[in-house]
Subunit: 252 residues, 2 copies
Amino acid sequence: MAPRSTGKKAESSDKVSVICRALRRAIIEQALEPGAKLPEDSLGERFGVSRTIARHALGQLAAEGLVELRRNRIAVVATPSWQEARDAFDIRIELERLVVRQLAGKLTKPQIAELNAHVDAEDRARDGTDAVSIRLATEFHILLANMTNSPILVRYVSEVAYRCCLTLSLYSRPHSSECAINEHRSIIAALVKGDVDKVMGLMHSHLDSVANRALVAPAPQRGRDLLDILAPYAEESETGRVVKMPKVVRAR
Amino acid sequence: MAPRSTGKKAESSDKVSVICRALRRAIIEQALEPGAKLPEDSLGERFGVSRTIARHALGQLAAEGLVELRRNRIAVVATPSWQEARDAFDIRIELERLVVRQLAGKLTKPQIAELNAHVDAEDRARDGTDAVSIRLATEFHILLANMTNSPILVRYVSEVAYRCCLTLSLYSRPHSSECAINEHRSIIAALVKGDVDKVMGLMHSHLDSVANRALVAPAPQRGRDLLDILAPYAEESETGRVVKMPKVVRAR
DNA sequence: AGCGCCCGAATTGCATGCACTTTTGCCGGG
DNA sequence: CCCGGCAAAAGTGCATGCAATTCGGGCGCT
């Protein structure tokens, strides 16, 4: 399809967006777990900028729902409730149905190649860490969204996909994402074939199963605030994995 | 329905969000037209804060797509292309179908009363300015979204509704929104009745007709960038209405 | 007169500084 | 031993200052 008007970037290519991208990636790769503290100082120091910039970046991330900002409090990586996770997936399903509806039968050859290459990369990453597979799976959907050339749709799909990714790290078990790869392949196939209804159905069930695979338990609930703010910190003896803040934040 | 977990506010209740709210409102009431300049100084002066804060607010608004931020350039109110407008409405339709799907048959009496009161207010505002009717019509949808108690859905519906509102001010004629009020009433009725399919259909056709009423002409297109950046400035002699920056920005 | 260049004003990009709030760790009392 | 309060430390909220960039208008050249 003819490239549609401006492919402009909402985010200026300055230091702020560099930090945003870095943090986003750290978050979806679970290098930063939900609840991890993000003090402006440490961020600024880590990225070689002043607090002003770090703060601005946190603001943007908060607008995307990846970070929680409370007045006079250290910013933390967002900890979505189970219900919010469910809602996010519901929205995501509708948005991505829109994506494939617009894309069905309209993909160019280079685009098809790019999609296939990406899925191949997903395949190759299967023996790597879970975090990477999750990121790649998420990026597949964003790649798809990008092909619509609708900046708004891209933005919303990206955001909601990142959020979903974040919740997966909270509520899902070790979980294998292998099956997802095949689902990605069938989506590509249906897109190429141009069967709109088929591909919308595929996308729907794909996301639905990802959600169901992950969001099995309605979670403890009831007075959650205390509980799941505590959760990431208390898990040292539970899973044998100690809380670490590898990149950005050094536990002082 | 039982209020769902945290009804938390993503935006801290500080000066930044005050400015955001004010600007949002000014934009959707067309006090600030697309293309209007928003220098940090003037904003800061007007709201009694430093540039730092004004800047941060502009960042948030940019993340919502209401403001365009280019490096080293004065921020301006966004001027969405016709295609972006169309895309925004497509997304909006899906999101709001989700809203009414969740709400059908689940409204409490106070909620129903609130909705009716709002539509009454819309009715009363019919002899007021167009700007106010548009704002109220938009707020009806946001009110609806709020009742889902899904923070994410609320955020997305609000954002996309604001964006649509913005495009209406760009591409629509004097336009009467009377008919929309009746459509709002039927939506409420169908929601109360609990007929899911009916209300989803109603919402769909409602938004579709709003979009079609507004986005009639595919617009000039072709090399748009120059054209519609210039448009808001050149329109002084065209529509007889001079570019004004009434509240926040004084043309120096 | 038209065109282009150059310089000053306007404006943004960013860091730093200070006041205020929250957090934390310590100490004394129960 | 545990609890409560207090004071230092850490962190945020925000303004201001300075360098760099863009904008705009006048001046000289053609």
